[in-house]
Amino acid sequence: MYYRIIRNDMLKSKLITLTTMMFVAVAAMLVSLSAILVVNLSGSINMLMDQAKTPHFMQMHSGDIDAGRLADFAEQNSHVDEFQVLEFLNVDGARIVIDGNSLADSVQDNGFTTQSEKFDYLLDLDGNVITVSDGEIYIPVSYMKDGTGKVGDTISINGKTLTVAGFLRDSQMNSLLASSKRFLVSENDYAAIKGSGSMEYLIEFRLKDLSEIGAFETDYTSAELEANGPTITYPLFKMLNAISDGLMIAVLLLVSTLIVAITFMCIHFTLLAKIEDDYREIGVMKAIGLRVSDLKKIYLVKYAVIAAAGCMLGFALSFVFRDLLLENIRLYMGESEHASFAFLFGIVGILVVFLAIVAYVNNVLKRFRKISAAQAIRLGTSQGKAAGAKHFRLSRNRLLNTNIFLGVKDVLARKSLYATMLAVLIISTFIIIVPQNLYNTISSKSFITYMGIGSSDMRMDIQQTSHISEKAAEIVKAMERDSSISKYAVLTTKTFKAKAADGSEQGIKIELGDHSILPVQYSEGKAPVAEDEIALSTMNADDLGIKVGDVMTLVIEGKEKDFTVCGVYSDVTNGGKTAKAVFSDESADIMWCVIYAKLSDPSLAEAKTSEYADRFHFAKVSHIDEYVAQTFGSTISSVGKASDTSVAVALMITGLVILLFMKMLVAKDSYSIAVMKSVGFTDSDIAMQYVSRSVFVLMAGMILGTLLANTIGEVLAGAVISSFGAASFQFADHPLSMYPLLLMAGTVLIATMLGTWGAGQIKLAANMKE
C-alpha cells in the first residue's frame, strides 16, 4: 500500500521529485569524488614516495664537497639509516635542445643525473625503477604534459645527441613548484656531458625514524657540513607534490559542502510545502485518532527512495568524472596504492549523504507532532495572517510601479517562504565569487609579491658560477645606462648562522640588498631598513619560534650580532626558508644573486628579457610572467578549472532551484492570482510581480553573498592559499568577476519566467471557488 501511495505522490509532483533527486545526485557525486580524490592523491603520493624511496633530508650544495667528512658524519649519527651523495649536472637551458627547440626559456634548473643506487630512484610511468641504456634519456613527466618532448625525440646536450626513451617521475622534483628538473642518462653518457655544466651535489639521507627529522636537521647544521644551497625535508617534498591537486580537492570539497546544504534546503522547503498542503488531512487524521506515525513513515520512505535513487545516480556519475579529475594525479604520481580503498571511500561518502538526508527528513517530520488538530481543521493552514511589512502600504507608495510593489511586498510579508530562495542565491553567489576571486588573485600580477617575489617585470638569476658579485655589478652597470629600466634591485643571498633560543646554531639564508625598491608583501611588519633589522619568511619565523619585534642573534665573521625582526613575509622560493636584511657583508660566500628589474614600459618585457639573456650568458633571465606561469601555472590552471566548474554548478543550481521554487509558488498562489485577474490584472502584470519578487530576492542574495564572499570567503581562500606558503592575503579586485554574477542574474530571470510561465492562464472560474 505504501508503494502505491508513494508512487502516486511522486508521479503527481514529477518536477519536484526529479529536482530533489538531481540535487542529491550532484551532492553524492561531489562528496564521493572528493573522497576518491583525497584517497587517491594521498595514496599516490605515498606510493610514489615509497617506490622512489624519497630522501628524508636533502641538502643541495654547489661548490667543493668533502665526501669523507660527510660519510663519517652519516656513519656516526644515530638517526641515519642510509646516506648518499648524488651528482646533479646543471646545464644552461640554452644548451639543451629537444627536437630542435632549446629550453632557454625554461625557468627550471634543468640538469642531468644517473640512476641512484640506494634510494631516491627515478621511476618510469609504471612506477618501476628505470634502467637506462647508453644513447637513451628519460625526461621529466611535466615536459610530456606541456608537450616539450615526446618519446623518440632527439635531445642534444651541448652537442651530444640522445634519444628520448620515456618519461620519468621524480618524487622530489615532479612539482612545478620545485625549481629543478632531473633528466636521467646512463653512466657513460653522463661522463661524456659532464663538462657541459656546473656540478651540484644532492646530499641525501634516509632516517631510521622520520619523526626525528628535526633533531637530525640540527645535528647536520651544527656539524657545519656542506650547506651551500636549499635544504629540503620529506614533509616539504610531500607538500610540493600535493599542492596543485590538493587545491582542486579543497575547492571541490567546498562546493560539495554547499551543494549538500542546498539539497537540505530544497528538501526542507518541498517537505514543508507538502506538509502544508496536507495540513488539513494531517489534522483530520489526528482528530479521528489515527496514528500520525504512519503518515510520517510514508514521507520518510518517499524521501529515502528519492535519496537512494539520487545517491546511486551520483555514484554512477562520479565514475564518469573521476578519470578526468584523476588524470593529473595519475600522470604525475601514478596509481594509488589503495585504489580499491578509494572505491570504498566513494561508497562511504555516498552512504553518509544518504544517511544524512534520511536523518534530516526524519528531523523535519518531527513537526507532525506539533500540528494541532483543531487549528489544522479550522484554518487549513499553518500560517496565520501575513505578518510583517505592515507599514509597507500601497496607499503610501509613490515610488514603485504597482506590480513591483506587490512583488516586493509579498517577499517582505512571507519572509520565511523566501528564505530558502535567498539562502540558495547567497550560496550561489558565494561559490561563484570565491573561487573566481581566488583565481583572479593568484593569477594577478601582484600575487607573486605574496609569494616572496618582488613585483617586477624581469628576473635575473646568477648562480652556480664564480665571481657572482662581479657579474652582478656588470649587469647593474648595464641597467644603470638602460633608460627603459625604471627600477632594479640586487639581492645577494648568503648563508649565516642563527642562534636558536637553546644556544644551538642553525644555517639561515639571508637575502642582502635594498628590499624597499621592489618590495614583497609583508604579512606582518615591514621591510628591513636599518642595519640591525631582519625580516623572516613565515617558515623560518615559525621554525625559529620568533615573532616580529623579537631579537635574534646571528653569527657573522665569528662574532655574535643582535638583530630586530622587523617583518614576516611568505615565501615559496628556495624551500620557503629565507630572510631579508640590508647590512653589508664581505665575509660569507655568495650563494646566488637575483636581480629584479621593473621596466618603464612593461610591454617591453619580452624584448628586454631576450636582450639581457643574449648579453649576459652567465645569468638566467626570465620574464616574470613566464616565471610565474611556469612555477605556478598548473596550480593556477587547476584553480581556474575549479572556478569555472563552480560557476557552472552554481548557475545550474540557481536555475533549478528557482524554477522549482517558482512552480511551487505559482501552485500555492493560484487563489491570489485568480483574485488578481478577476479585478483586471493581466498575465504580464502577474509575470511582472513574480519577476519583481525574484529580482528583489536576487539583489538581496547577491549583496549578502558578495559580502560573505569578501569576508568569510576571503578567510577561506586565504586558508587555501596559506597552505602553499602565502600567509597574508587579500582578494585582488577584478572587474571581470561581475560577469558571472550577471550570468546568474540572467539565469534567475529566465528560471523565473519559465517557472511562472502560464501562471496567468490558470482557470479563473475553478480557482475562485476557494
Partner: protein, 252 residues
Amino acid sequence: MMKIISCENIVKSFSAGNEKHPVLGGVSLEINEGEFISIMGPSGSGKTTLMYAVSGMDSIDSGTVLFDGRNLSALSEKELSDIRRTKMGFVFQQPTLLKNLNILDNIILPAMRDNRKNAARTTEKARALMKKAGIGELEKRDITEVSGGQLQRAGICRAVMSQPKIIFGDEPTGALNSTSAQKIMDMLSEINTEGTAVMLVTHDAKVAARTERIMFMCDGKIVSEMRFKKFNGTGMEDRIEAITAKMREIGI
C-alpha cells in the same frame, strides 16, 4: 435602451473523464444599462457558470457574448483584463481579498495599477466609499481582522472604485447573516440607482425581490422570467410572495 450585455445561445460543457457534461444548453440573455437583474435556480443548475460566461471569466463552447457591443470571444487576454478592470466589478460568495494587503490597499489595488500618479485622489475616493459602506475605520486592518460582512463590503468598494458599467455578484450574501445581507443589498441598490447595472446570482427570494428582473434557471436553461418595477423600499412582501409562487410553479 442601450444593452450592456447581450448573449445568444451560449453552450458550455465540462468534460469529466471521457464524458462531456453539458452545463449551459443554449442560453440567451440581455441586460440593459443600469438594470438590476438576478438569476435564481437550484444548486448545480449552471448559474455560476452562466455568470462566468457572460463576464468573460470563462470561455464558452459556442454562442456569442457581446459586452458593450464587443464580442468577448474575439478579445485577447489583455483586452479582457482591461475590460474587467475598467468596466466590470465582481463580488463573490466568499470575499476575495489579498492576504498581503490591508483593507484600504485591497480596495485601491486595481486603480493603482493604472494610475499611480493619482494615488492621493484614489485613496480619498476609496476612503469616501468605505465611509459610505460603514467600514471607514477599518482601512488599516488586515483582512483577517474584520468580519465576513465587512470584508464583503470592502469587496464591493473595490468593485465600484472604477465606476464600472456592471457589477456581477455570485451569491454575495450567501455566507452572511440577515443583517449583514441587508447591508450588502442596500449598498448594491444604491450603486444601481447611481446607474451601474447589477447582475446577481442567488437562491434567496429576499435578495431576488430587490431586483427588477428575475431569470429562473434549471438544468442549464432559462426556464422562466419575471419583472418588477425598480424597488423603492415598499412592497417587499408582495414581491417575495410572487417569487416563491413562481418557484413553486416551475418546481424549484
